[in-house]
Every structure is written in C-alpha cells, then in structure tokens.
C-alpha cells in the first residue's frame, strides 16, 4: 500500500516537476532557490494528502499551496550578488538569447510586485484562470483578486514598457 502510494507520488512529481517549478519561479519573481524551496514544501504537503487528492486534482492542490505560500511571503528578492558554484553559461546569439532576456526582464518585473499582486498576475496570465478561480486559489474575495491582478498589470506596463512595445 505504501509502496504503491510512493510510486504514484514519485511518478506524478517526476512528470510535473518542470511545470510546477516554472510556476514556482514566476511566483517568487525568478528566485530559483526560493522557488525550489517553495515547491519542495508544497510537494511535502502533497504527500500527506496524496490518498485524498491523488484521484482528483493533485496539480491543482500544489498550485493552491504554492500560490498561497508565495502570496503570504513578505520576503523580497535580493538583487545583490549571489555566489554560485559555476559560472552561468553565456547566452548564444539569436532568438533563444532574446527569449531568455525577455524572461529575465519578466522575472525582474514580477519581483518588484507585491506578493499578492504577483500571485494574482501569475495565476491570471500564466495559469489562465478566471478571476473567480484566482480568488479561490488565493483565498480572498473576487474583487480583491481582481484588484490585485489589475494593479499588478498596471505596474508591469511601466516596468516592461521597453520589452512589450505598444501596438501602432
């Protein structure tokens, strides 16, 4: 019984790790280490409720735990230097580097939002959730979730003005 449970759990985590990690990274404003910690904590919580949610929507459960934990967090990303074991790879020229640069700018801009605004924006524009489900995930009224998302997008318009050029 325990082996079956562990096997199913490991299979789910291995299959959805990359997607969930990307969500966690957006929710933390690009902080890779903190995203990993957040995802680990959420998956540990998932283990204890796995028999209940395994047949329903385990990914939705992890998403809810991730978003709420990120929205509660008052920690801001430190923009100083961070020691690393290996030097980052130099981006190759071409479209890929442009994509990486855009994503880096997006993460920097997301990191400047408040945790609630960031979570609402990510759930709304990355998870494509309507306002009602965003409110359910964050555990707040619909109007509050809509307000967080609108204020976050308004802030991102100014921060990403050079990345996303207006039409016309």
């Amino acid at each position: 019984m325990e082996q079956t449970r562990a096997g199913e759990y490991d299979a789910f985590v291995a299959a959805r790790w990359s997607v969930l990690f990307h969500l966690a990274r957006l929710l933390t404003g690009g902080d890779r280490h903190r995203a990993e910690d957040l995802l680990q904590e959420s998956l540990v919580k998932l283990w204890f409720v796995w028999p209940k949610v395994a047949d329903e929507a385990p990914e939705a459960y992890v998403r809810t735990v991730l978003a709420r934990a990120a929205a509660r967090s008052a920690r801001r990303r430190w923009w100083g230097e961070r020691p690393v074991e290996e030097l980052p790879e130099v981006a190759a020229a071409g479209d890929m580097s442009a994509t990486v640069a855009e994503r880096s700018r997006l993460e920097e801009a997301l990191a400047r939002l408040s945790p609630q605004q960031r979570a609402a924006v990510v759930l709304r524009y990355y998870q494509d959730l309507p306002d009602r489900q965003v409110a359910e995930v964050l555990g707040c009224p619909v109007g509050t979730a809509r307000s967080h998302a609108a204020r976050g997008v308004a802030r991102l318009r100014g921060l990403l003005a050079d990345v996303i050029e207006p039409v016309g």
Binding site: V13, E41, P166
Partner: protein
C-alpha cells in the same frame, strides 16, 4: 476609468478575449519556452527527507498534544473534589429518642450500654454514664424488666447512690417521676408502662 483612458491613449484598444495587446504579450512571455528542469536524484532525496522530517514533526506534535491532554486531565482530576460526604459538615450522630413512654422490649434491644440489670432499687448507670443522654432509657429497662417478670438479677455494674440516680432521671425524664411499685421512684421508668403489666 483612468486605466481604460490610459490604454486608449497608448493605442491598446485591440482587445481580444478581454485582453489588450499588453496582456496578450504578457501571457506569451509567461508561456515562453522554459528550461526543462528534470526531477533528478538530488530533488528526490531532498523531497523524501522533507517528508520524513515533516512526519517526525507531526508525530512529535501529536505526542506533545497527547501529553498535554493527559496532564490536563490528571490535573483536573487532582483538583476535582473527592466526594460529596467530605464536603458536607458532619452532622451530629443520631441519638436515641427519649420518649416518655418507651417500649421496654425495644429499649432493651437498642441500648446496649447498661446490661439488663433488674433490681428494685434504682439501677442508675454509673456516674460516668450519667453525663450522656443514653442512661434514661437504661434505667427504664432496668426497672421494667423486674416489674414484668418479678425476678431480680445481679447488677453487672456498681449501683450509684439513690440521689445520683434521682438527679439523673430527673433531668432526662421529667414526667415519670412518680412511681407506685418502686420506692426509689424518680430513677425508674415510667410507671405507666409497668403498672399495666403487673
């Protein structure tokens, strides 16, 4: 309202599915190709270690809760009053009722203090017993028994003086001072009981 006006000024009026150009581009950026992060052995070990740690924390928390619950229950039982009788003030022990006309047989069975001495002279209890409230009935039994069958038995305890007996009975049984059969009357039992039988 200002938001809409601001978007119109910037030319973001081409809304599709409720999104303007910026929002669509924001969505595209978020869905942009991302690096594939594999769930490797390091992640697996760390995840399992987290599960074990959390399991230990939950077990410790549960044990601590149980200990607290037991301690609280024990403290509550310790502070709980032990019994109802201990809390009440102790009532005086029931004393035999002193009636002017006690039934001889009943009095003999209920009062053990004086032995059934049946002497004609007033067989009062010892002076030590005169302080109690029981002697009046004992004198009643002593006088009744001989009156009933007419036999005299040896008293088992010393006879007090007539005056002492008279004083004792006078204080306890006032109405039965006059007796017809016994000369030492005051210490005897009510004559109303004796006279009908004899």
């Amino acid at each position: 309202m200002e938001h809409m006006k601001h978007m119109q000024e910037r030319g973001h009026t081409d809304r599709v599915d409720g999104m303007d150009h910026f929002e669509r581009q924001l969505t595209r950026l978020m869905h942009s190709p991302q690096e594939q992060v594999a769930f490797d052995a390091r992640h697996r070990h760390r995840l399992h270690a987290g599960v074990r740690t959390r399991r230990r924390v939950r077990a410790a928390r549960r044990a601590a809760g149980s200990v607290l619950a037991v301690a609280g229950l024990g403290l509550g039982l310790f502070l709980w009053p032990h019994g109802h009788t201990d809390d009440r003030p102790s009532a005086p022990h029931p004393r035999p009722a002193v009636s002017p006309a006690p039934v001889p047989s009943a009095s003999t069975t209920t009062t053990p203090s004086p032995p059934p001495s049946t002497s004609e002279p007033p067989s009062g209890p010892p002076s030590s017993l005169t302080t109690d409230s029981a002697p009046p009935e004992s004198t009643a039994t002593a006088s009744n028994a001989p009156g009933a069958d007419g036999s005299s038995s040896t008293p088992t305890y010393g006879q007090p003086s007539a005056t002492a007996t008279a004083r004792d009975t006078a204080t306890t049984t006032p109405p039965v001072t006059a007796t017809e059969n016994t000369p030492a009357g005051p210490s005897d039992d009510p004559s109303s009981v004796v006279s009908p039988s004899g």
